[in-house]
């Protein structure tokens, strides 16, 4: 490994001592790979980032689809939504061009902008990631419904391009949504294995946007609650249960095409190879959950806590038998359990990519403000996420322990071409 490092070092001129840290970081990533088989090999390449000119730990920014969706899920998240402060569509286009340039650089672990010798100027890059590896940073950009139309106004001449399915998430029973944690004209999802790398990316994109867009809300996630690759272990959420066992895995390309990627023939055409992201800030009533008995907890989720197996099963990946009933004649997996309600309709499969979050303490209640920042990607949110979430909102036993405090839906356009920019298919078709 160390010889390889040295050779790599010499191969790339103009890149500084930061390489050393990159390689050190990649060693850690290599150790983290679990599982086996073909999927693992694919994932390992992605994790080590062999795709981007050989920069270890870098995930290519350009491509057919945006990165950060099928990328084996990184450990950390900073998600941000922005509101545009301009009414000039060419300024929006300029911003997306600048964001694309910066995102491509940061994905390779490079600073944004240029280094200047002038000590009277602030540096272009804010600097806190200079010595860090790319940490598999991905930046995923999206467009909210209000980009296309706001209060009935076609503010940028894009209304005709608006996907019908980008209609927003209708209000659900039990919603406690806060406007300052919801919606937005644009979004950026930054995922990385190093929280500082993810934060640095959002900070610099926010800075670049100043004068054109302002941050509307932001959420930090400290640990992934899903696995998006068979090579990854299923993580646990803050309720202590394994989450995302039945997630669509990136290796199943036919399922990805069926449920995640917008296909040829889907409207509008500019969204082909894109997808839609639903984000929900789901606060857990931690104190209430913590005083529920193990039995209550397992009946609520529909799985055993330690093994992750469905109730009645032994292994995490045992099929969920919705027909099985216990000695009392009642279904083994309760009718109002989270796992049963989530699985009732196979057409509603989604790619989950959520993160645990905490924002410290809620001073009003004196309780922990923590939970799940739910993220899902789907081909048609009105046919997948919305009916699924409605069924959960109406019936889920879990509702006793959670509050939905933020909500947003964004169209994720296809990946940018190397000499193009993210969102080009929308803005050039307008």
């Amino acid at each position: 490994m160390s010889k390889k490092k040295a050779g790599y070092f010499e191969d790339r001129k103009g890149i500084s001592r930061r390489e050393l840290f990159r390689l050190a970081g990649a060693t850690g990533a290599g150790l983290a790979i679990g599982g086996g088989g073909v999927g693992a090999a694919v994932a390992a390449r992605d994790i080590l980032g062999a795709g981007t000119g050989g920069i270890v730990g870098a995930i290519p920014f350009f491509g057919r689809n945006q990165a950060g969706i099928t990328t084996p899920q990184q450990d950390r998240l900073v998600f941000a939504a922005f509101d545009l402060t301009t009414d000039n569509v060419s300024k929006v286009r300029d911003l997306l061009r600048e964001w694309t340039t910066a995102a491509a650089l940061m994905s390779e672990g490079r600073p944004v902008g240029e280094e200047s010798e002038n000590v009277y100027l602030p540096p272009d890059d804010t600097g806190e990631a200079l010595d860090l590896s790319p940490a598999r940073l991905t930046l995923t950009f999206g467009f909210g419904p209000t980009l296309f139309e706001q209060d009935g106004s076609d503010r940028f001449g894009l209304a005709v391009q608006r996907p019908a399915t980008l209609a927003g998430i209708p209000s659900m029973p039990g919603d406690s949504l806060e406007p300052e944690r919801s919606d937005g004209d644009l979004c950026v999802q930054a995922c990385a294995d190093d929280p500082q790398v993810a934060f640095h990316a959002i900070r610099n994109l926010t800075r670049i946007a100043r004068g054109t867009a302002t941050m509307r809300w932001s959420q930090i996630g400290f640990g992934r609650t899903s696995s998006t690759s068979r090579a990854q272990e299923t993580p646990r959420n803050l309720m202590g249960f394994k989450d995302g066992t039945n997630n669509i895995k990136a290796e199943y390309e036919d399922l990805m095409d069926q449920h995640v990627w917008v296909q040829t023939g889907d409207e509008p055409a500019w969204m082909r190879d894109g997808t839609y992201v639903a984000a929900r800030r789901i606060r857990m009533l931690i104190e209430v959950w913590d005083r529920s008995s193990l039995n209550d907890q397992e009946q609520t989720i529909g799985r055993h806590r330690t093994s992750g197996a469905p109730i009645g099963g032994e292994d995490e990946f045992d099929p969920i038998d919705l027909e099985a009933s216990g000695s009392d004649g009642k279904p083994l997996v309760p009718t109002d359990s989270h796992v049963r309600l989530s699985r009732e309709n196979p057409d509603e499969q989604i790619l989950r990519r959520g993160y645990s979050f905490t924002d410290g303490m809620d001073p009003k209640r004196g309780q922990l403000d923590a939970g799940l920042f739910f993220i899902s990607f789907q081909r048609d949110p009105q046919k997948q996420f919305v009916p699924l979430q409605r069924r959960l909102a109406e019936n889920d036993a879990l509702n006793e322990y959670i509050l939905h405090t933020g909500s947003a839906l964004f169209a994720i356009p296809p990946g940018a071409r190397e000499d193009g920019y993210v969102g080009e298919t929308l803005f050039e078709s307008a």
Partner: protein, 304 residues
């Protein structure tokens, strides 16, 4: 109060770096002496180290434009101290006359002239804590100045026992005016000053902590922005040759800030800051941030 400390730090950093090419280590040592707390003990040492650090000649290629910029801005600062003396006299006169209403009316208009030049004024003599300390910035028995009287006027609705504070304030302001006559500025002071005035708004004023009794924060905010613009205007001829686009962008964003503030005008002044909602405060804050990015690039004018 806080301005003195942070500006001092910037002086140390910029002049240190420009003056003798000290490395980052040396800079770190310098800033280490200016404790970043807002107590009175540190404010004295911060001012002292600022003036010491300002001694080395800044290593900037002087041009006729830059010299003119320094002269123009220096005249602006002196002019503001002159008006500050006049307007403060109306305020302290009302306090001495026991006229609460007139004192309240003349308070914010006097402070405008302080706020327009705050980062520079705060380095003149050691007058800043005497003039502008807020409750808790200094030990209670040393607290005096504008905000001491502000509290009596708005909380107690009286001028009683404020006479001595009024006399001291007037004397301090007049001393400030005298110090301004000997003011020596470098081009870098204009660059840091214009940004520092915006930082005043972003870091403190926007939350409403500055004028916590009188709620006249919008007077201060507008004055900070105007002072920032004055420094930028002085530098404009140097910038216009090198980067006319930057000049246009900065102008546009100053305009956007004024436009954001405009709805809160009331008569000759401004609505009480308590009438400005959190969301509106956020809009003001973000318009200042949008201006700060291009404005922070005026340092280009100093590039040889």
């Amino acid at each position: 109060m806080r301005a003195a400390l942070s500006l001092a730090t910037i002086f140390v950093l910029t002049l240190g770096a420009a003056g003798c090419g000290q490395g980052p280590e040396a800079e770190k040592e310098d800033t280490g002496t200016t404790e970043e707390t807002s107590g009175s003990a540190s404010s004295g040492s911060a001012s002292a180290s600022a003036s010491q650090a300002a001694v080395p000649e800044a290593d900037i290629q002087s041009t006729p434009e830059l010299e003119a910029a320094v002269d123009e801005y220096r005249a602006y600062v002196v002019g503001e101290t002159d008006q500050l003396v006049e307007e403060t006299a109306l305020f302290t006169g009302a306090v001495l006359a026991g006229n609460v209403e007139e004192a309240k009316e003349t308070y914010a208009p006097a402070r405008v002239h302080w706020e327009r030049i705050e980062p520079i004024a705060a380095t003149l003599g050691d007058l800043d804590p005497n003039i502008d300390a807020r409750e808790g910035d200094v030990p209670d028995d040393e607290w005096r100045g504008f905000h001491r009287i502000e509290q009596a006027l708005w909380v107690e609705n009286t001028t009683e026992d404020q006479e001595e504070y009024a006399r001291q304030l007037q004397a301090d302001i007049e001393q400030l005016q005298a110090e301004a006559q000997n003011l020596e500025l470098q081009p870098a002071d204009l660059v840091t000053g214009s940004i520092e005035l915006l930082n005043e708004v972003s870091a403190g004023k926007i939350t409403g902590e500055e004028e916590r009794y009188s709620r006249t924060d919008l007077f201060d905010i507008q004055a900070n922005v105007e002072g920032s613009e004055a420094a930028f205007e002085a530098l404009r001829p140097s910038l216009e040759q090198s980067d006319p686009e930057l000049v246009a962008e900065i102008e546009e964003r100053f305009g956007a800030v004024y436009e954001t503030l405009e709805p809160y005008r009331e008569g000759d002044g401004w609505v009480p800051y308590t009438d400005v909602t959190e969301e509106q405060r956020r809009q003001i804050s973000q318009s200042i941030d949008a201006l700060g990015e291009p404005l922070s690039r005026v340092g280009q004018a100093l590039e040889a």
